[in-house]
């Protein structure tokens, strides 16, 4: 198979001294590595982009103050901080908004602190329950039962011009 090539190869190689051959080997490997690195930087950078990106958070209106009855907990929906145009419905976020009897507001994330499943509010029981492993929280977000290691995280809430506003936040990750 390689019979035709040997003489030519030997001929081409004969003038090269071992030192020159060594030099050419190193230059070829170094150049190859450099080329690969140049290509790799943007590719790997793009792959790892989520590590470096910072998303700024924004306040989102979720309803007028009067639309929430004191003592009630309701689900409110709002868009993420910077949804991409093609994100579709996943750009929406839900929160459990509670208006305390004294009129103040508390907003809980819907993500269970155990492994992130969406907790449901059971108004008659006054509890949040998680469908995944049975985590239970009281109406103030404190852990009532099950595996959740921490209370339900809260979103910052404020009232502006008669509107209740929630500040977007990353999905809470229990560490």
């Amino acid at each position: 198979m390689s019979g035709d090539h040997h003489p030519a190869a030997a001929k081409a190689g004969s003038p090269a001294s071992p030192g020159r051959r060594e030099f050419l080997t190193r230059v070829s490997i170094a150049l190859g590595a450099l080329g690969a690195a140049i290509v790799a930087v943007p590719v790997v950078g793009f792959l790892l982009a989520p590590f470096f990106e910072k998303q700024s958070q924004v306040w989102r209106p979720v309803g007028t103050v009067d639309s929430f009855r004191p003592g009630m907990t309701v689900k409110v929906d709002f868009p993420d901080s910077s949804p991409l145009p093609w994100a579709g419905v996943v750009a929406r976020t839900a929160a459990w908004l509670r208006r305390e009897p004294d009129g103040t507001f508390v907003a809980f994330t819907v993500n269970c602190t155990h492994l992130g499943c969406p907790v449901r509010w059971l108004p008659d029981a006054g509890l949040f329950m998680c469908p995944c492993h049975g985590g239970v929280y009281y109406k103030d977000g404190a852990v009532a039962a099950g595996p959740p290691p921490k209370p339900l995280p809260r979103y910052p809430v404020r009232v502006r011009d008669g509107q209740v506003e929630i500040q977007t936040s990353p999905i809470p990750i229990t560490t």
Partner: protein
């Protein structure tokens, strides 16, 4: 000589195909390599089936968070052959996971990872890991509600890693939350990155199989001695070796075709898994469960004591991987026959039993509240009016029934209360309801005295005699 044959000869002379493939196909294999040797090739066939059906699905699937769900609905319910293709891709994935498991178990049981095939095992472990990743990312591409919440669950697990956990979780989500980039990245991992790794490692794995030959069936009392094994194996092959093609390959072909047939049949009869609700994170009524191959892990996470959870989540997969990779380092010589390695049989049996048990528990998920339960019928409550009837309604309304069952109505998270009147006094019941404990929330702030009385009246009436409808 026919014209076709002449053409082939001319083509082959220029291309050199027979020259390269001939020795590969005809390499000698031990004559007793029989049916239990087919799992490796069948795993490869299943992977190729995934490549082919995956490419076909990619003709219509749009990996954008806004469109993926709709395109899959269209593929499943309207596109010609779409349903069967999705079914084949799903059952092909299941076959691949099952077969790679069977192949690993066979290799381990027969000690085929021992000298000189240590690297075959190690590359196989890498292939096993990336196969699981391929299966998991595939489930996410279904991009329904379960997929979206499964990503959150995976991100939470990543989050438990010390120092880098939060960053890794962000990497998985491709941002602070799910968003426009989440799915396209999983798509790229599923169809480009992971298959590229699989192709590369399958290449290395096959090269190693050719280099070291197919391991001969083990015999008790014929241990592997690295100093003499290679010479002994060569003499075995020259004495009684058979060309791989067709003497051994026919079994691989028959088994592979049967596997593909079973995949097609399952996709025709059972069909692909139905998509869940749309991937809208504001739809809270979700009950995310992994596909069957990770259901046992779901069960494990639910059953772990909280103080062990972090260790198992973070260290468990890592330790399992390291142990698997180190198997040949632990013993790469000596007996190969399972008859002389009862601990190997015991280990495989124990792993199957553990995973099987966790799998069954994971499928039943008794720890999850039963949100689907309905009010207990009046004939079981035993009263239509009065405190017992009111208590029965409260038992449902206050959510007790999500966790406790009575006469088959309700969840299995807490004890069955069908006969609680026989076990607990009203005082004990009251104490438990008001104060909670033993993994039960306290209801003190959520029940009026009248409601509590009614509830106790109802529970007191749950005795063996009355609970029988």
């Amino acid at each position: 000589m026919g014209i076709a044959r002449r053409l082939w000869r001319a083509f082959d002379d220029r291309a050199g195909i027979s020259q390269i493939l001939g020795p590969v196909l005809r390499h000698p294999v031990p004559k007793d390599a029989r049916w239990y040797y087919v799992f490796g090739s069948a795993t490869l066939f299943a992977f190729l089936l995934q490549v082919v059906t995956g490419i076909a699905l990619a003709l219509a699937y749009i990996p954008s968070t806004a469109n993926a769900y709709d395109t899959l609905q269209w593929i499943t319910h309207q596109a010609p052959f779409g349903r069967i293709l999705r079914g084949m891709h799903y059952f092909g994935a299941s076959a691949m996971v099952l077969l790679i498991g069977a192949h690993m178990a066979r290799t381990f049981l027969m000690g085929a990872y021992k000298f000189p095939r240590e690297l075959n095992w190690i590359t196989g472990v890498v292939l096993f890991v990336v196969t699981i990743l391929l299966a998991f990312t595939g489930q996410l591409l279904r991009w329904d509600q379960t997929a979206v919440w499964s990503i959150a669950v995976a991100a939470e697990q990543m989050g438990r890693l010390p120092l880098i956990g939060r960053a890794l979780a962000r990497f998985l989500l491709a941002g602070d939350t799910w968003g426009g980039q989440t799915l396209s990245r999983f798509f790229a991992f599923h169809v480009f990155f992971i298959p590229a790794v699989i192709f590369a490692f399958v290449g290395i794995h096959l090269w190693l199989v050719l280099r070291h030959g197919i391991s001969e069936p083990p015999e008790p009392g014929r241990p592997v001695d690295p100093r003499t094994y290679r010479a002994w194996y060569q003499s075995l092959l020259s004495r009684e070796g058979r060309p791989f093609w067709p003497d051994a390959a026919w079994r691989d072909i028959v088994f592979g075709v049967c596997m593909a047939g079973a995949v097609v049949l399952a996709s025709l009869i059972v069909g692909p898994p139905e998509l869940g609700k749309p991937p809208d994170p504001t739809i809270i009524q979700a009950d995310p469960r992994p596909d069957w191959y990770l259901l046992w892990y779901f069960g494990l996470l639910a059953l772990l004591p909280p103080n062990l959870e972090n260790y198992v989540m973070v260290l468990g997969p890592l330790v399992a991987l390291i142990v698997l990779l180190l198997v040949p380092a632990i013993s790469n010589r000596g007996e190969r026959s399972p008859a002389r390695r009862p601990w190997a049989i015991g280990l495989v049996f124990a792993i199957c039993l553990t995973i099987g048990t966790l799998w069954i528990v994971g499928a039943r998920a008794p720890w999850s509240p039963d949100f689907t339960t309905g009010p207990i019928p009046a004939r079981i409550i035993g009263a239509a009016t009065g405190p017992i009837a009111a208590g029965g309604r409260l038992f449902y309304g206050k959510g007790c029934q999500y966790c406790h069952a009575i006469a088959g109505y309700g969840g299995a998270r807490g004890p069955d209360l069908s006969a609680v009147g026989d076990r607990l006094t009203p005082a004990q019941m009251t104490w438990r309801i008001l104060n909670g404990g033993m993994n039960m929330p306290a209801f003190a702030g959520n029940l009026t005295p009248d409601e509590l009385d009614a509830l106790i009246a109802f529970l007191k009436s749950r005795t063996t005699r009355e609970s029988t409808p």
